[in-house]
């Protein structure tokens, strides 16, 4: 190893090691452990007993058997597709719309407005879910029903969450959409603030409207961020379940049409009095694979390689 290389190696190790350590500790090791546990009989957190209890593909076979034979599994799949699809659109385009809207108004009201949209994300999950539990409750104690009944719009309370499939879907999409939209809003806001002001000012001088500025200047310049928010939100929606878990647990929404794949595997592995970590790990691996494929497709569709092209000029 010559001297320059050695120096480069030392410098590289110094700067990279914290990040590498993080990646190994928090990504690589858990990944390897998850895959390993999925091949064991691990349950009830009894590591001592089951860590070496190797069962091969048993957990995967059990899971696929359930997928095939469970009468509610079709509803779960359909719910996942609808939930991820619609919530993703709301999160990404809602976030973009909010960022654009606040871009064109003065900073002070814009900040308060953005803060308002952050509330769902900042509230504890149980508290936030409880608010919507009482809002959408299917009897007269539900806020929405009570308002509509007082206004004389309806005479009998409507069991919103139990109206399948769209009632249940609407609630889980609404609740999660409100939480997720702030993420896109923040990313897009910071992206818009990076765009040189002179571009907007020049366009304004040329007589461009807010819509034209958005369409021709702002949106094309936030393509990177769009890709990031889309991919990130897709993956998190695919694996999220805490809010939905509570809404289903409290019987606010129909169990079959309120359960996504992530919640289904959580319930199968943990929700029925048993703590089946082997099965949960297998399910996590399957979800990860779906996530990887989904992420890959998103990047392909949005032509990620094109954006990754080396910039022209000297480098």
């Amino acid at each position: 190893m010559n001297k320059i290389n050695k120096e480069k190696f030392t410098a590289l190790s110094f700067f990279l090691s914290p990040m590498l350590l993080m990646v190994v500790l928090f990504y690589l090791i858990p990944l390897i452990m998850t895959v390993y546990i999925s091949f064991t009989q691990m349950r009830n957190w009894n590591v001592e007993r089951y860590l070496k209890d190797f069962v091969g593909l048993y957990n995967y076979e059990r899971l696929f058997y359930m997928f095939q034979h469970d009468p509610t599994f079709k509803a779960v799949l359909l719910t996942t597709i609808v939930f991820v699809g619609i919530t993703l659109i709301i999160n990404v385009f809602g976030g973009l719309a909010l960022a654009l809207a606040t871009f064109f108004i003065s900073e002070k009201p814009a900040s308060s407005f953005r803060l308002l949209w952050l509330l769902p994300r900042m509230s504890p999950i149980a508290v936030y879910s409880l608010v919507w539990y009482y809002f959408f409750h299917g009897s007269e104690i539900g806020t929405l029903n009570s308002i509509l009944m007082k206004l004389g719009v309806i005479s009998q309370p409507i069991p919103w969450g139990q109206t399948v499939p769209w009632g249940a879907w609407s609630i889980i999409i609404f609740v999660n959409g409100l939480v997720g939209v702030s993420f896109g809003m923040i990313v897009f806001t910071s992206a818009l603030n990076q765009i040189p002001r002179e571009l907007v000012i020049a366009a304004r001088v040329d007589g461009a409207s807010a819509w034209e500025i958005s369409r021709k200047i702002l949106i094309p310049l936030t393509k990177w961020h769009f890709l990031y928010v889309l991919t990130w939100q897709f993956l998190s929606l695919l694996t999220t379940y805490p809010h939905i878990f509570l809404l289903v647990q409290w019987d606010l929404v129909n169990r079959d049409y309120g359960t996504t794949l992530a919640l289904y595997v959580f319930n199968t592995a943990f929700g029925r009095g048993e703590q089946d970590q082997g099965l949960a790990a297998a399910a996590a691996v399957i979800l990860s694979i779906i996530g990887v494929i989904g992420g890959f497709v998103t990047l392909k569709v949005l032509q990620f390689e094109k954006m990754m092209k080396r910039p022209r000029g000297d480098f």
């Binding site: 957190w45 058997y65 359930m66 095939q68 034979h69 009468p71 009897s139 606010l252 029925r272 009095g273």
Partner: protein, 541 residues
């Protein structure tokens, strides 16, 4: 460059693995502890253990108590605090300078959450030393080695063990070994609203006897419920509990002569005829508007309890603990009921037989004091003195089962006593009066924590209620303590919900249950489907 990167990663990995190993070595234990044998003489045993601890230079023994349940059942943890005080007193009187300190009394509302927390923390040594929870979890905890086998210790205390009701001791066993002591139990009566009954001419005075003899069946419940609804005496005929956590509704299976468990095969059973009849009754009640179709999504505090206490239903399938819960919670127009009101408004019977020829039933879910298999681990010289700490923990649950501690818990939480001695005590008026005034020899922390509950609940009416419902234990059934039972109960709950909402007919729902059971290979292996849907079965008869 690639090779270097690989090296870098390898070194990092090695570092991580090495850091995991450092400090992982166990101290080698030196066997210096004196041997203690339990004799069955409580004071003598406590003194002997105290002396061993003292000889080993230990002046303080730390334990923690974990419990869960309704707000009135806090004695599930404070019983341990009181037991510690009583043992400390014995040590003090005998000049032993050792003290038990209860470092943590962890009490949560949901017993399932408490169980999950215990499961995840026990292997890490972070779970409570004492754990009170449903007998249903005992087999899993025992099987995983998470709780202490106390069979050998208990042999010395046969006289105490024999004072417990035998069925409850059986519920504390796993594969013939004893893993805990019963803490409480309950029955689930059918409550009848007296004023509504009077309006429609239902005689509630003779009702308990008629139910007991099997003369009054679910067809009669239907008949009167319908009459109450149609005459406008009540908005509903029947209200029942929801969820699969408290498996109340499986009483129907037993009431229709079915079973849930086959002791010969050790498997759970889906008794198709009984399950069908259960679902049919639910379906019929809901279809005829006697039971809310959406009861499974009703809110406990805003709908279920207010509907019952405000007299909007004739019947209610509840639990004995409702009796005091109605007094301490503000369910009735923003206030709690007075004991006199509860007595005046509600009659109670066993859960009636399904049809003529069947027997009335009730259901219990005993709670058990269990000892962590790592109990005492937070104390010095644990490896040497493990047995001594475990024996002390055992003596603590023996003490926490003192008749008066058990009786206090029963009276203030409306659970049934688990010992005959405690059952006698709750009928003792002088003792009740002393409890009412907290004029008992109790730890100040315990007194402080139960003061308000005592004020609201200790009353001759409540004690009389407990005495009156005790006979129900003779008719009691337990849900199977099988690791797969919660999964099956969950499926039952889904089926009931679908039937009530009219999404499925009883036949469809039975097939749905079978399909769901068969969808999971492990559940399928553990559940036997027995019998067929009865043809030409009619309800009401």
């Amino acid at each position: 460059m690639k090779a270097k990167a690989v090296w870098l990663v390898a070194i990092l990995l090695l570092g991580v693995i090495a850091s995991g190993c450092i400090g992982g070595e166990k101290e080698t234990a030196t066997q210096t502890a004196g041997k203690v044998q339990l004799t069955g003489d409580f004071t003598k045993d406590v003194v002997a253990i105290g002396k061993v601890l003292e000889q080993n230079g230990i002046s303080e023994v730390k334990f923690s108590a974990w419990g869960s349940g309704d707000p009135n059942s806090v004695m599930r943890v404070y019983g341990i605090v009181e037991a510690a005080r009583r043992i400390n007193k014995i040590w003090e009187e005998n000049g032993i300078k050792v003290k038990i300190v209860i470092t943590d009394t962890h009490y949560v509302a949901s017993f399932q959450d408490a169980y999950k927390e215990y499961l995840s923390k026990q292997p890490l040594g972070q779970a409570g030393d004492f754990f009170v929870n449903s007998y249903a979890f005992l087999p899993t905890l025992a099987d995983e080695g998470y709780i202490l086998d106390i069979t050998d210790y208990a042999n010395a205390y046969k006289s105490v063990i024999d004072d417990f009701y035998p069925s409850l001791i059986e519920a504390s066993k796993y594969k013939g070994r004893l893993y805990g002591l019963p803490q409480d139990t309950e029955a689930r009566p059918l409550y009848v609203r007296k004023d509504v009954a009077a309006k429609i001419g239902l005689d509630v005075n003779t009702l308990p006897e008629k139910v007991k003899s099997g003369e009054f069946t679910w067809s009669d419940v239907y008949y009167w419920a319908k009459k109450a609804k149609e005459s406008g005496a009540a908005e509903w005929g029947l209200i029942h509990r929801k969820g699969s956590a408290h498996p109340d509704l499986i009483q129907f299976i037993f009431a229709f002569g079915g079973k849930l468990y086959d002791p010969n095969t050790g498997k759970l059973v889906v008794d198709v005829p009984a399950v069908y009849k259960w679902l049919y009754v639910e379906w019929k009640f809901a279809q005829d508007g006697l039971l809310p179709k959406d009861i499974m999504s009703w809110d406990w505090a805003k709908q279920i309890h207010p509907t019952i206490v405000e007299g909007k239903t004739l019947f209610d399938i509840g639990g004995t603990w409702y009796w005091t819960e109605w007094q301490t919670k503000q369910y009735y127009h923003g206030r709690g009921l007075k004991p006199e009101e509860v007595k005046e408004w509600f009659a109670y019977t066993l859960f009636p037989a399904g049809e003529k020829g069947d027997k009335p039933v009730t259901l219990s879910q005993p709670f058990i004091w269990m000892i962590n298999s790592k109990a005492g681990a937070q104390n010095p010289k644990y490896d040497e003195l493990k047995d001594v700490y475990h024996m002390l923990a055992f003596l603590m649950i023996i003490k926490a089962s003192d008749p008066d501690i058990n009786a206090i818990h029963s009276v203030i939480s409306a659970h049934l006593p688990v010992r005959k001695e405690a059952a006698k005590l709750i009928k003792d008026e002088k003792w009740l009066n002393d409890l009412k005034n907290l004029n008992l020899d109790l730890d100040p922390t315990v007194k402080d924590n139960i003061k308000n509950i005592v004020q609201a609940t200790v009353n001759p009416i409540n004690a009389q209620f407990l005495a009156d419902v005790s006979y129900m234990l003779e008719y009691t059934h337990l849900a199977p303590a099988h690791p797969k039972y919660p999964a099956l109960a969950d499926i039952f709950k889904e089926a009931v919900d679908k039937v009530l909402r009219g999404e499925m007919t009883p036949e469809d729902a039975v097939n749905y249950i079978i399909q769901k059971v068969n969808a999971d290979p492990e559940l399928k292996e553990n559940v036997e489907i027995q019998g067929e849907i009865p043809k030409n079965w009619k309800f009401p008869q």
